[in-house]
Subunit: 230 residues, 2 copies
Amino acid sequence: MSRIPMHPNSESQAATTMTIRRAGVRAEKKAARPAEILEATFQEFLDKGYDAARVEDIAARLGISKGAVYFYFGSKEALFAAMIGDLSTNLMANLAETEEVARGSATERLRACITLHFRRVTAAPRGREVIRFLLAEGRKFPDLVDRHFNEFAVPVFAMCQRIIADGIASGEFKPSAAELHPQMLLSPILAVAVDLLIHGDRRVVDEAITIEGYLKAIFSGISATPDPVV
Amino acid sequence: MSRIPMHPNSESQAATTMTIRRAGVRAEKKAARPAEILEATFQEFLDKGYDAARVEDIAARLGISKGAVYFYFGSKEALFAAMIGDLSTNLMANLAETEEVARGSATERLRACITLHFRRVTAAPRGREVIRFLLAEGRKFPDLVDRHFNEFAVPVFAMCQRIIADGIASGEFKPSAAELHPQMLLSPILAVAVDLLIHGDRRVVDEAITIEGYLKAIFSGISATPDPVV
């Protein structure tokens, strides 16, 4: 498995750029910025999957040539990596916002953390599609999967663990709450995401109701007081 | 989207069978039974994904001709549908076994249900690969997805709901446990499955430990008695 260029300025991209450096491409690149190319890439991979997606069809979505796409991204692999990187970066911005919003008691912070993540990662189509891409194509891109995990998932889990530790220290949560792995705490978010990804609009999921009973059960399970108001 | 033939005896399969009915194929079909073809199909789709998988490569895995595969399954679509059907059937047999094993108090039955499902659906590679296939290729096969959902997922959810209702009736669980959607109850199983599917053998997940804290928290949350032994 060759190393995946994570940024446009990779060696293979530079080599490709040399071969396509023409005046026509220069004019086109002004018309289509990298962000637009990544958006078209997202749509193309979404519609066709990685294997069937073609760089010429991504270019056609923007009315530009294949060479104009290669000007920024040297290969289909680089395009896929940049697209996942872009989606992950948005999720990471969300993480910073969660830290900001999640103030108050440990119970309030944990609820805010779960609810915000649910809204951004699961309810938002772009957020949940990362899961599909990683599951469908992840084995071809182990570096990308590891990067997403280390830069996005690990900090989210760490945030949950800090909140649980704070809640145990403050007496809000039972000491046994420490055994609750953060991945398990967030698992209903993943379950709703997988449900929406698999069934699309063919089955209506009331995500709010689905999550609500879970929150009640889990908070009731970890709280030091019976029947906490969450 | 054309209708997907769910069984070997579809019209398109019959038509294909006519064209390939040769003595050589007849000899080959004795050598490779449908079960072996489905196993080779699973491995091929697993390695390459649906789009890149080729019927000739599935045949090559068994040392038979493409025609011998078409003798049983009339198209790549039919092969994929039959393979998912085969995996789902195994999961349904597991469901029957769970009903059998899950005896005793509602707490014991719910724990047995979660644990058995975890072992068969998540810990077993073939069980969890269904999730990857449905996520990666599900949009091409809506009938297949709906069938899997209705014949496998719905009965599992119904079983969980029956156990929770029994536990509320017997006074083992709080009435609020009724609000716990079964999909949420089983979500940690899905979370571990997704983790294993995305990271493969690059990250060691101690599934038993991961699930244990969750079980403690959720049972503590729904049980009528504090700190139930689960």
